[in-house]
Symmetry: C2
Subunit: 396 residues, 2 copies
């Protein structure tokens, strides 16, 4: 179960997959890295593995590669399905494939599971070769900057000196932004969707409650639950329920669930009365079965810490001055997690630097989840953007 | 510790108390009721107690009484302080007192702790005389309608046939609304602040996560934790943290905490880095010390279930047709828990019935908590409203 969808997207993805071309059956790969990786926050991994997938063909000039970065609970499985798991469809399959907005008949697309993850790359549940036991609480606190370093090493191994684009939504978009700062010469374009240049106090607050739910679960054991043979499912479940509320707009929730009663009448109890309760419990239960609690902590902390302007005294325009990419920035009107005003902060900082930036504010009702959905106007804009990239790749 | 404040109001209250007249030292009283009370959702209390306070003097005509209904974590301690607890100031002390918007030199003000509460009225932690043990999970699921019935019985005992006004904010405002439906002839005015005619799916979702945090705490023991000598503090703490996020606007949180670091630098850990984390943990810890977990469940469920339009097929205008009171309705622009659009639904339903309604949409940055704060424009409007009531009381 490696779903990148945070909400209603599964049906959409399936509908889209039926309509449009798919990259088809894909294979997850792993690369082992022996060069130590020192983390920004302290700690070193002497060796590690990255799980990744690729779709399409790298051209002779090696100029058509696109890196797709994932958000909280997604993975390297971005498009297609697995031969032995035909229902396990990649989390951005509606966006990526032959003839789709990011067209795999033109581009070589790379998806990678981030370090600290729980879908194949080295993470807290992995065995530390130095001890023979799971890393658990000893896994380094990882930042967006660290992920980008690891992604660049993967690019080296794949022979990609420069990406045609680095692309992501939400936390994935933070990675695309960071690429323009850490390796400004190594990408031509950045596709930055549904994100802010840093979390607000409210964003951090939601993350903190989720983390507190996990770390105060008696089964968490300070992060070393693996050796106790238990999982902090209660905490993960609550964390996921909180997350789901923030992924959807109030209106989308009202549209989808309203005050509909599961059994048609109020039961006067603390079980499920309203459909929305059933939905949250189901999503929470499902998530707690497959996601790693330490990964959840690490990823939410990476979100909290991301703040490229911090080193420049809070001046985002100064921070973005080193960027050389062309930017496509998009936000969604009903996204209250990362509202359009927040995306405009990024656009302003880029314009202050006379960067080449296109900005789309898309009128969509679905909240933060909109970036994963099959919205015709949104997809048309991404398609046009990649058409331009493709044209420039093949310009004389 | 009986604070009605949901956020930043403590300082405001203290500042205000220093500036304006206070009702001074007050005494909490209790009344015992022997007539059984059958709850709407099933269950009966054969006997029960209500804790209450009064301020000011009931006039000879018994026409100047105002009932103030409380919201989630407040109580009958609405104004003043206790002789032996001078710092325990009533939760709406900035609103109520001699010379204050609700002027106790003119009105006889009644505050009551609702049934199911944990501050003196019979609730889940009370001893069930039939068993000699705490009610715990056996306490009836209580609704806004049930509270209003109990409040009317208290009014009977106090000799109040008709209130000059029933007033509340948030869940307290739902009780004021219910009064106009359950006992339309028993109140002249309803003061309805910062509320919606029913919860949205998102509102219910936040309540549900809070309840799930409590009921999945291993110390909850199905609601009968009293006999185990433990308290589900982990769950209550998380519930309170979630609540606090919804009481404040994103902007207010950013203004108050921003991304300020507790120790001046990022620590790369899962302890407290940001001020907002420290705030939430502190509020959660404090709340878990004094609030009853079963009361939290009951009160959030009463919120979920409140929906006066339900019996009329969702038609709020038809539901409000029985109301006879004059209405003052107020909302706050930054309140995303109960946004102004929701208050306007109430106003529309009242206007559809040609009711006498004044509506104020107050431009305030503090979110839902604004109803508890000392905002000059807001207080001036409430003051003017009660001035009118006072004038009409004394009209020939």
């Amino acid at each position: 179960m490696m779903r990148g969808c945070t909400g209603f997207c599964i049906l959409d993805i399936m509908n889209t997959a039926a309509k449009q071309g798919s990259v088809g059956a894909v294979t997850a790969r792993k690369l082992h890295f022996d060069a130590p990786l020192a983390f920004r926050g302290g700690g070193v991994l002497d060796q590690y593995e990255l799980a990744y997938e690729t779709y399409g063909t790298l051209n002779a000039a090696k100029s058509n590669a696109v890196l797709v970065c994932h958000a909280l609970n997604a993975s390297h499985h971005v498009a297609g399905w697995y031969e032995d798991q035909p229902d396990n469809i990649g989390w951005w399959d509606n966006m990526i494939g032959p003839g789709k907005p990011l067209d795999t008949s033109r581009f070589f697309v790379v998806g990678v599971n981030n370090l600290g993850g729980c879908f194949g790359s080295t993470g807290p549940a992995s065995i530390n070769p130095a001890t023979g036991k799971a890393y658990g609480a000893s896994f380094p606190v990882v930042t967006v900057e660290d992920w980008v370093v690891a992604q660049a090493r993967l690019a080296d191994e794949l022979g990609i000196a420069r990406f045609a684009a680095v692309m992501g939504g939400s936390l994935g978009a933070m990675q695309a932004l960071q690429w323009t700062l850490s390796y400004p010469e190594r990408l031509a374009n950045a596709v930055v969707i549904a994100v802010a240049p840093k979390l607000s106090a409210q964003n951090i607050a939601f993350n903190e409650v989720a983390r507190q739910a996990i770390t105060t679960d008696p089964d968490f054991h300070g992060g070393d639950f693996y050796k106790h043979g238990v999982l902090p499912k209660r905490g993960l479940r609550l964390a996921r329920m909180i997350g789901h509320i923030t992924y959807l707009s109030d209106d989308a929730m009202m549209e989808k669930f309203g005050r509909t009663l599961k059994s048609g009448a109020i039961q006067y109890h603390f079980g499920v009365d309203f459909e929305v309760e059933s939905y949250l419990r189901y999503q929470g239960d499902k998530f707690a079965e497959y996601f790693d609690a330490n990964t959840y902590l690490l990823i939410t902390r990476a979100l909290d810490y991301f703040d490229p302007a911090l080193a420049m005294g809070g001046d985002l325009s100064r921070a973005m001055a080193v960027a050389r990419a062309k930017f496509f920035v998009a936000s969604f009107t009903s996204d209250w997690r990362f509202a359009p005003e927040r995306a405009r902060e990024i656009v302003k900082a880029l314009l202050d630097n006379r960067a080449d930036v296109s900005y789309a504010e898309i009128d969509a009702p679905h909240g933060h989840d909109a970036f994963l959905l099959d919205d015709a106007r949104y997809h048309a804009l991404v398609r046009a953007w990649f058409d331009n990239i493709y044209t420039s790749l093949n310009a004389p």
